[in-house]
Amino acid sequence: MGPNGFGALEGVAAVVATWMAIGVLGLLRPRDLRFVRALFVGGAATALALVAIALVALWQPAQSTTLPLGLPDLPFHLRIDALSALFLAMLGCANAPISLYSSGYFRAGEGTAPGLICFQYHAFLAAMAMVLVADDAYLFMVAWESMALASFFLVTTDHRIPEIRRAGFLYLLIAHVGATAILLCFGVLQGGRGDYTFSGMRSVALAGAWPSAGFFLALFGFGAKAGLLPLHVWLPEAHPAAPSPVSALMSGVMLKTAIYGLLRVTFDLLHLQLWWWGVIALTLGLLTALFGVVFAAVQTDMKRLLAYSSIENIGVIVAAIGLAILFQANAKPLLAGIALTAALYHALNHAFMKSLLFLATGSVLHATRERSLGKLGGLIHKMPWVAACALVGTLAIAGLPPLNGFVSEWLLLQAFLFTPSLPQSFVTMLVPLAAAALVLAVAVAAYVMVKFYGVIFLGRPRESSLANAHDAGRRERAALVVLALGCLFLGLFPVNVIGGIDRVNALLIATTVLPAGHSNWLLLAPIATGRSSYMPLIVFAVIIAVVLITIVAIRRVWHGRLRRANAWDCGYPLQTARMQDTAEGFGQPIRQVFEPFFRMQRHLPSPFDERPRYEVRVSDPFWEGIYVPIARGAERIASVAGLIQHRRIGVYLTVSFLTLIALLFFGR
């Protein structure tokens, strides 16, 4: 029991147990679709309970407890503090609509049986919740690996398709490389005392290069899960392969557990932060953001496009964390607080808007059976609900006021801009350049989202089969509306949200962004009103008011007559849907401007070609630059090692004997 009588940890444990129970129930009748759908609704209700528990825990002091599970002498330690509570709330908020959507989404006869998906899905949720409350390295790793495994099976739901199996394998591989780094990181953090509880790690004061080793192992390990450069390659493969609710959950929530881990290690377990860690994290984050958004602009598969956009958003979050480290190391707590708030706010935003967009692509996929942007178009007429909700997500992720993406962007720019002269003079020069790179990434993101929305929902249908498209079912629609309202809420009431985030700031860097007794819930002014302020609700109200007044005034003063005719198009008589921009065409300017980013193979037809074919392949330079050489090296080592295989038993015994001798000699 917690000190205040409310057992938040017991509540979280109960939620985890309920999710596991729901999963096991799904296994009992795996082919009974109606039963499984009801289970998913139960999962959504449990998620709402988790939100309530987490929001209460956010305002309470940290609580910890021990569960008599696990190995002998290694019980599970659990702890819930403001950081865990915020991410648990995020998990619950994003998951409740996703579960509701899933209850209408999964159908029989598509790969894995629905009941089995239900089990994997809820095990995945339970593992994520456990990651967030784990208080020792052992439980953390167990939960982390369960999360990776459960999501691997979810990604390979349609395991009969070879590409999907390949994508799943790549995901599993990178997840394990990352997990190894995290394990090593915990090994460094315990400082040779053998105490793997987080409270033990907090009390260790590492010396010399060890804190840096710990930080970079964490950055590498959690970066692999989050999709930082150059470990991002699994995202654009795994997201298109997974069913849409799973993509939403992975992109919206699972990537955030990596952010949670990075924050936990950097600001909680390590007792100091060095300024150059911040510079490296900032640079890496910005490179990731730019790379992700430029690649998103040239994608032709809607889910791949969103996957690259997730890479961009993770880059922005990591850049904000880097900035927070930089300020914290230079003892500027208020600015560190603003940067950290921007990171957490963006994580929260991304959980809502990316889930919303992935679910919208799921509805489009079900309605049209088409993932390629080149074969969609004009769906706003057939799917008005999905189109309206997706528009909110599109505007939010493009960072436009008065929606939520803009709030975190605004906070982050404030942190960049009010960099007082830092003691490291070249960093002071670097920060404005970093701000420029960030703004560029956000501006290209708007381009990407116009492409995404315009090609899918606007214009004319590019295929005749789209005429049969239908709007999403009732539960799916409800889920989309809830997420869209969430985006709107986060955009319009930032002060209330930051009030909660400030609890995390107080925990991690002992400062708050909102001054004590801040009462004006309309006005967001982190430093001082004269320096910078933003009132999204007023901006929203003014725009809505102007629109309404204009509509009424035009009707009153002039008239509102309207008639329909053929499109004019400068008077050209022949117009077909093929004359619209394709996804490739829309991305062409980006391809031209950022040419050095891409590995491109182009085939242009000659003017005399009777049957011209235009072909362009854009591939990730990191794949050829890093992964293929590593794979080749591994194969070469394996083939050398293979020389001693397939021999007689005597050879193996000799090798074993020699190894033993060597070990005895070196390991005395």
């Binding site: 436009l400 803009f406 606007l458 629109v547 204009t550 400068c570 849907a577 921009d581």
Partner: protein
């Protein structure tokens, strides 16, 4: 927020709405004179807007509600922007609702809506225009923010009234960083307002147009709103330029008399600015589309240079 404050705020927006077409008319007159043509009446934009409002709206058969809503949203965003820009007085109540970053965000909102509306009908010109507009936009937007950041660094604030107050009180100080920023801002304004050398507001030559390509399918009241909004955009950009680089004469504090006294100064400055714009447009040639990144890249670099100069010299 007091009632007087609200009234003054509405007055400022009303003056912006009223003056914006006049500015366009003036620029067109100057352009015609410089090209040795007989200039059209300065009141022509008002007549055009009125004429368009009177006409019946014709909308393509497959237009979605998005297409019909977009002009209103664009107009709303521009009105909102004109309430933020300190064109007449620095202390209007709405100014604390949105700062320089939010102002850039509002321009982006308008751009995204107009680009989406252009893609809605599904014609070749519409999507071509949308793509080009977003292309110019993602190059110009960071540069504009960098210019505003340079001014923010001088005053230590992103709030536009504070920036203007700070700059207006140091008449004799010379800011080398603002010189860079000023050149960059001019280049960005040309691009953002669909002017030569990036776009040509007078052309309907299909292969070169950007802004015109997006609004091809619009007619009557929707077109009137878009024309008015783009006039308002030019007005807003001019006022930002005036506020940053020649802020003298803008009323400090919020009083009705001070604001009215600021109107002649504003008109005089706009007249000079408009004539300069016409001159630039007359003496330069339109760039090929793929030269635009070089042009805007130069603007971006100048703005960043301005910022670095500011950090190095501390002014």
């Amino acid at each position: 927020m007091t009632l007087t404050g609200l009234l003054l705020q509405i007055l400022q927006v009303a003056i912006a709405l009223a003056l914006a077409p006049l500015l366009v008319g003036w620029v067109n007159q100057c352009r015609a004179s410089l090209a040795n043509k007989r200039p059209p009446s300065i009141l022509l934009p008002y007549r055009t807007i009125h004429k368009l409002f009177v006409k019946d709206a014709v909308v393509a058969e497959n237009a979605s509600p998005m297409f019909r809503l977009a002009p209103y949203v664009v107009f709303g965003a521009m009105c909102c922007a004109s309430a933020i820009v300190p064109s007449l007085a620095t202390d209007v109540p709405f100014a604390s609702a949105a700062d320089a970053i939010a102002l850039v965000g509002l321009f982006a909102l308008a751009r995204v809506f107009i680009a989406l509306a252009a893609m809605d009908i599904g014609t070749s010109f519409g999507s071509l225009g949308a793509r080009r507009e977003m292309f110019i936009g993602f190059l110009a937007e960071p540069a504009l923010l960098m210019v505003l950041f340079t001014a923010s660094l001088i005053s230590g604030s992103t709030s536009l009234p504070t920036i203007v107050d700070t700059l207006a009180h140091r008449e004799l100080a010379i800011y080398p960083s603002l010189a860079f920023a000023g050149v960059a801002f001019t280049m960005i304004s040309l691009a953002e307002n669909a002017r030569i050398p990036i776009d040509n507001p007078a052309t309907h030559l299909e292969l070169t147009m950007i802004h015109e390509a997006m609004i091809l399918e619009y007619s009557a009241r929707h077109l009137a709103l878009l024309e008015w909004a783009s006039a308002l955009k030019l007005f807003n950009y001019s006022c930002i330029g005036i506020a940053l680089f020649v802020p003298f004469g803008i009323a400090e504090g919020a009083s009705g008399l001070g604001m009215l006294a600021a109107v002649p100064a504003l008109i005089a400055k706009l007249a000079v600015g408009g004539a300069a714009l016409a001159l630039i447009e007359t003496v330069s040639a339109k760039l090929r589309l793929f030269r635009a990144p070089e042009f805007l890249g130069a603007a971006f670099l100048l703005a960043v240079l301005g910022m670095l100069v500011n950090l190095l010299l501390g002014s």
